[in-house]
């Protein structure tokens, strides 16, 4: 695994080192959520994380952002230790996390205004990102006037607008219907091709994990740990044709088998 990481890192400038996770361990009281998790994400790499419910995927993601503190281990972004949320890391939430009292545009501008960008400038920048996610024309709508897919476009634009070096995706398309989800996957891939960043993509969807990731981390066990890392050498840019290829289908069933094995070994994890 470290070999793969090195390979991907080789093209990076010294201050863009992506994210390095070492020996991360998290307890809730006596309960160990996950133990000794280590991996790296290169500056222009996507790593997917799959695993049964309750295996700590979301907790892991929050540790990477500094929203939650791990009990052991460390997270480095561009060589700096992450101890609290930082400007170069942005999250996209499963339930979008838009503020209902702000318009789509102001929601997209939120990250910028919070960082002290003057309101006018922030809205100008936000407009560009609203266009990027194809939400133009809906700038002045409130979240409740938008469909789920459009709300997540706004959530994505808000994260992209701060021009993060690390994007943390917390099951971003999990709350969308199947068709919208597929559409958004391909659009996210296109956007990423134009503005590549280090991305951690937490998901329930095995197909989605393979489609997005350069690698797929399968979490599982008790306490949870990295069960297996599957390399996904599919060429980029990836699109609908990628999904149809036999290589994709092979990888998909490989990850599927791993997740099923983990589920059997982690009996009861689903009930959590």
């Amino acid at each position: 695994m470290s070999q793969v990481a090195t390979e991907h890192r080789s093209g990076a400038t010294p201050d863009h080192q992506g994210i390095v996770v070492q020996g991360l361990t998290k307890y809730y009281g006596d309960h160990c959520v996950f133990k000794d998790i280590s991996f790296e994400i290169g500056p222009t790499e996507i790593v997917s994380v799959v695993g049964p419910s309750g295996c700590g995927k979301t907790t892991l993601l929050r540790c990477l952002n500094g929203l939650i503190h791990a009990d052991e281990g460390s997270v480095l972004v561009d060589g700096d230790l992450v101890s609290k949320p930082r400007p170069e890391i942005a999250i996209v939430f499963q339930d979008f996390g838009l503020f209902p009292w702000k318009t789509a545009l102001d929601n997209v501008a939120y990250g910028l205004t919070v960082r002290g960008t003057p309101k006018k400038k922030a809205r100008e920048t936000a407009r560009d990102f609203v266009k990027l996610v194809a939400l133009d024309g809906f700038e002045e709508r409130y979240p409740h006037q938008l469909s789920g897919g459009m709300q997540q476009r706004a959530g994505l634009a808000r994260a992209l607008a701060v021009e993060p070096r690390v994007l943390l995706m917390d099951e971003p398309f999990g709350a969308l219907d199947a068709q919208t989800r597929e559409l958004m996957q391909f659009e996210l891939l296109q956007i990423w091709d134009r503005n590549p960043a280090a991305m951690l993509f937490v998901t329930h969807g095995i197909e989605e994990a393979v489609l997005m990731g350069d690698r797929v981390i399968v979490l599982g066990g008790r306490p949870s740990g990295i069960h297996e890392v599957v390399d996904v050498p599919l060429p980029r840019p990836r699109d609908a044709a990628t999904v149809a290829s036999p290589e994709f289908q092979n990888l998909r069933s490989q990850v599927w088998d791993l997740v099923m094995t983990v589920r059997r070994n982690t009996a009861g994890a689903d009930e959590e």
Binding site: N65, F93, D95, G97, L98, P100, W101, Y142, H144
Partner: protein
């Protein structure tokens, strides 16, 4: 009235016709008609009862109708009274909203403050406001400062409790989003705590304004030296001007209605997201 009688006596065959008529009338029209009918029937009963059993000086709907222009245009004490009373109410409410908001939001966000302030807020809320008036007048004298103080005493606790509840129930997702984008404390307080708890704040405002109106009238009655609308009503009634007293009372009611219903309606119209209180 006649239609009500018809309805009860109508044979079963008449029902399809009624069903059609019901469908054609919009729920809104129906509601308004119901209200008008309810008010009119009470007025009629009132007029009839006073005519049959009442005394000469008692107020009747027709007498009140005659007194309305009289009070509004010819009574030199009404408008200064309205001004004196409501300037105290509005000043008191302004202070109470700000104070209640600060106290309540702080209590909702800082557990230490909630623990230490809760006995006071709950205690003051439970204290009958009329009972503290003697103490307030002792400190401030028999004047509008005492009235103002009683209004604040009455209106701060419901505002504070509402803001407290609101701050406690801010969806953690909003706070998490704010934190993940590096929001500072000020951004969270002003940018999230206030809008996220607006429905609670409005409910608190409604309670507080009702108590503020009650407080101002109680204070005017008991202090007895002012020229406010409350004491004016008292004087009119004591001098057997009952129709005029009720007209003056209606002015109080109108302002009370505006504070209780009108303000919320304006906010609902102004902020279309208002109904959306939970994260999507």
């Amino acid at each position: 009235m006649a239609t009500v009688g018809d309805k009860t006596q109508a044979p079963a065959t008449a029902q399809p016709v009624q069903a059609v008529r019901k469908q054609r009338m919009s729920p809104r029209t129906k509601r308004i008609l119901t209200r008008i009918l309810a008010v009119l029937s009470v007025l009629v009963v009132w007029q009839v009862l006073v005519a049959l059993f009442g005394r000469d000086f008692m107020a009747t709907p027709l007498g009140i109708a005659e007194a309305i222009p009289q009070v509004l245009f010819n009574d030199p004490k009404v408008w200064p009274g309205v001004w004196e009373t409501f300037s105290v109410v509005f000043r008191g409410m302004a202070v109470s909203i700000v104070a209640g908001l600060i106290i309540g939001l702080a209590m909702g966000r800082i557990p230490f403050l909630a623990d230490s302030m809760a006995p006071y807020v709950n205690g003051f809320y439970a204290t009958p406001m009329i009972a503290v008036l003697p103490i307030i007048t002792l400190w401030l004298g028999f004047n509008t400062s005492a009235t103002f103080a009683l209004v604040v005493f009455a209106a701060v606790p419901p505002m504070a409790v509402a803001a407290w509840d609101g701050a406690k129930s801010i969806p953690t997702r909003y706070l998490e989003v704010a934190e993940s984008f590096g929001a500072r404390r000020r951004d969270v307080w002003i940018g999230i705590a206030i809008p996220a708890s607006l429905p609670y704040l409005l409910a608190g405002f409604r309670l507080a304004s009702g108590r503020a109106l009650a407080a101002v009238v109680i204070a005017e009655f008991l202090i007895g030296t002012g020229q406010g609308l409350g004491i004016h009503i008292m004087r009119l009634a004591q001098n057997f001007y009952h129709d005029e007293a009720i007209v003056a009372l209606m002015i109080l009611t109108m302002v009370g209605l505006f504070l209780a219903v009108g303000v919320e309606a304006i906010i609902r119209r102004r902020y279309p997201w208002f109904r959306v209180t939970t994260p999507s």
